[in-house]
Symmetry: C2
Subunit: 403 residues, 2 copies
């Protein structure tokens, strides 16, 4: 089975599924890429293709709000990890080896996007390396890969200065060019720890965002008070430029160092600035507090981060497994808490990507996943192979997918 | 497919597999439950059943050195988690609810043992609750479940005073009875934190071990200096009773609190006492240092801990996935480091369980797993469905397994 979209009929009837809040099985009528209606035992009518959901759990399409599909070796030869243990050493190792191992590759990126789609992901936001050596070839590669897949997965790109911005002259103008090419956001990375010029990097990023209208999505690995201090600087710039709702921060490992009092005032300021976050629950690095963010109205997404690249050999692109990592690392054991974790990989991710008409109600876009599980907690804990994946109202994985 | 042992012929030829150190594919001749010979293109001969390993990676049977198969709901209705967040609250919740949810159940335990076997586990050490309320029914239940499976998985029991020993009068004599019934070891749990009488619990346990000849395997969740202090007390008792090699400690979350100097002297003392450890890489709890233990000659095993029980809804019984958790949480990214992590779930576990003739050399017992992976790192990272599982020289899962 491959993941090409089938074109069967204009209307589909997905029978025998259950949304998390449903008390029994429902049928979902789908046409023109949207959910037409939901009810028990909907009539199929003529010219309607009926698909059995097998009593499975229906979820909205999974959203990966932080990944790096430009860097992956997915589907290719095994590449052993060689980098040293620090972020700086990993960046140096990548800079040394990446072209030798074939980066960037439309074939590898396409393979990972297909894998993500098979796992029920319908939208991703991916950070694509931009620097004077690779130029914009990463951006072009991801566009080519996504474009070759006929719409089975929507891809937003963040033009990402992985090697630094202030310390890599020429990168800033490439970021602007990437926005012109369609990148929805520009990134940043450890303004203090990597560039050693926190205000310099942040001012450069926000200046580009202000002049181009793009969004901002910053990697922040810097730990402890150094990281927290930079979050405050990001808040200041977001508010002074009126960019509320258009700024996101990834990782924010510094959160683990915070006292409850500082955390509370920071959460207030972040809520006012409409800044969103993504956590990936990687390795033993700190995980952002899922329930606290939920309770305080801060949108927290979830992402795979790197999948099988020079940074790490781990990952399989599955956002349901990633939601399990997030819930597990967060010690969430109650059904309702595990559901809050899954929301990071669905509704919250959709907010970060600013998706319209996302969800499982009538009128929503028919980007859907059927999981053979009795409830959300079991779906997350077991993350079993998906029964069906729909994108734009068409079956892209599972029974009925194209050949 | 079920997991019953097939009885096909007395000799099997497993073709086209590769052990981690092999440079090419080999064939494995298996007879009378053992590996007869290993070589390239072995002749099949008459009356020999030939099985194609498909070029997969051959590993020795996986060993789970710390689990709780008596408590599981595996294969039954979903049971939502209700306990509070502390170990004490979880013990209290379990004590309140366990009989209402059907504990102990031969059916549930059997279902989990089958799942473990399907995942390539050939040996487990399981901690079975023993206390005045349940008596020895847990021990009997696990024996009945294991006995019903025709030898597809070997089960060692640790009689485990989950609710405390000093604080639960009557438990000590039940532990002795459990040893008479066949329990290979007796357990303990947080002598200070739970029983509030560390010397009392430890002396009681070691007294039983000394008088019955059984081994000791103690849960130690107690954190920081309190936990470290108890490890020293365990070392003292191990050495004074001449129990070197017969004492193991599970979890030891306290390790995270240690300075390098204290760690080094403790490692020396543990090596002299021949004390082994098991870590399960659960939630965000500290993981024992895989490489340090390996370098210092301390045997570190790995286990699933609880699988879908009143303590947590997580887990699937798969030791290859658990090895991934261990490697991932330990930030092991290089191929050779990931192999050290996998050893915790194979050779090190075999040492803790004191298995004889374990491994993949000629003469070893033919307890083997074939994994569709190119190398150990990929096997751990992806933990794909097993191609074949052999126990006692017979196929118990994968192609050729019984119906």
């Amino acid at each position: 089975m491959t993941s090409n979209i089938t074109s069967i009929t204009s209307e589909l009837l997905l029978r025998n599924v259950r949304r998390p809040a449903d008390t029994g099985l429902v049928d979902i009528r789908i046409a023109d890429g949207r959910i037409l209606s939901i009810g028990r035992q909907q009539p199929a009518g003529p010219d309607v293709t009926s698909i059995d959901g097998g009593g499975g759990l229906l979820l909205p399409g999974l959203v990966d709000s932080h990944c790096h599909v430009d860097k992956t070796f997915w589907g290719g030869p095994w590449v052993a990890h060689t980098a040293g243990p620090s972020v700086a050493e990993r960046i140096a190792d990548e800079r040394e080896r990446r072209f030798k191992v074939g980066y960037p590759s439309v074939e590898r990126t396409t393979a990972l996007l297909k894998q993500m789609s098979l796992c029920g992901t319908t939208h991703i936001r991916t950070h694509t390396d931009v620097d004077p050596d690779v130029g914009l070839r990463g951006i072009e590669t991801v566009q080519a890969a996504a474009g070759s897949l006929g719409g089975i997965i929507d891809v937003q790109q963040v033009a990402f200065p992985q090697q630094g911005l202030v310390s890599r002259p020429g990168t800033a103008s490439l970021l602007k060019d990437a926005v012109k090419m369609g990148a929805k956001a520009i990134g940043g990375v450890d303004p203090a720890g990597l560039d050693r010029d926190p205000l310099g990097q942040l001012d450069a990023i926000f200046d580009i965002a202000d002049s181009t209208g793009c969004e901002v999505d910053i990697h922040l690995h810097d730990p402890g008070e150094l990281g927290v201090w930079q979050i405050w600087r990001i808040i200041e710039r977001t508010r002074s430029l009126g960019m509320e709702g258009k700024v996101s921060i990834g990782h924010a490992f510094c959160w683990a160092a915070m006292s409850p009092e500082i955390e509370s005032s920071l959460l207030d300021a972040l809520a006012k600035a409409g800044i969103t976050f993504t956590t990936a629950a990687v390795f033993s690095r700190p995980v952002l507090p899922v329930r606290t963010f939920n309770n305080r109205g801060i949108t927290l997404g979830c992402g795979n981060d790197g999948v099988r690249d020079l940074w790490s050999p781990y990952g399989n692109g599955d956002m349901l497994e990633r939601a399990m990592f997030l819930a597990y690392r967060s010690d969430l054991r109650k059904d309702e808490d595990i559901e809050v974790a899954l929301n990071c990989a669905t509704y919250n991710g959709a907010k970060i990507l600013r998706l319209e008409d996302y969800g499982m109600d009538e009128g929503c876009k028919a980007d859907l996943v059927v999981v053979p599980a009795r409830n959300v907690a079991e779906a997350v804990v077991m993350h079993p192979a998906r029964s069906l994946v729909f994108k734009n109202g068409k079956v892209v994985a599972g029974a009925g997918a194209g050949n």
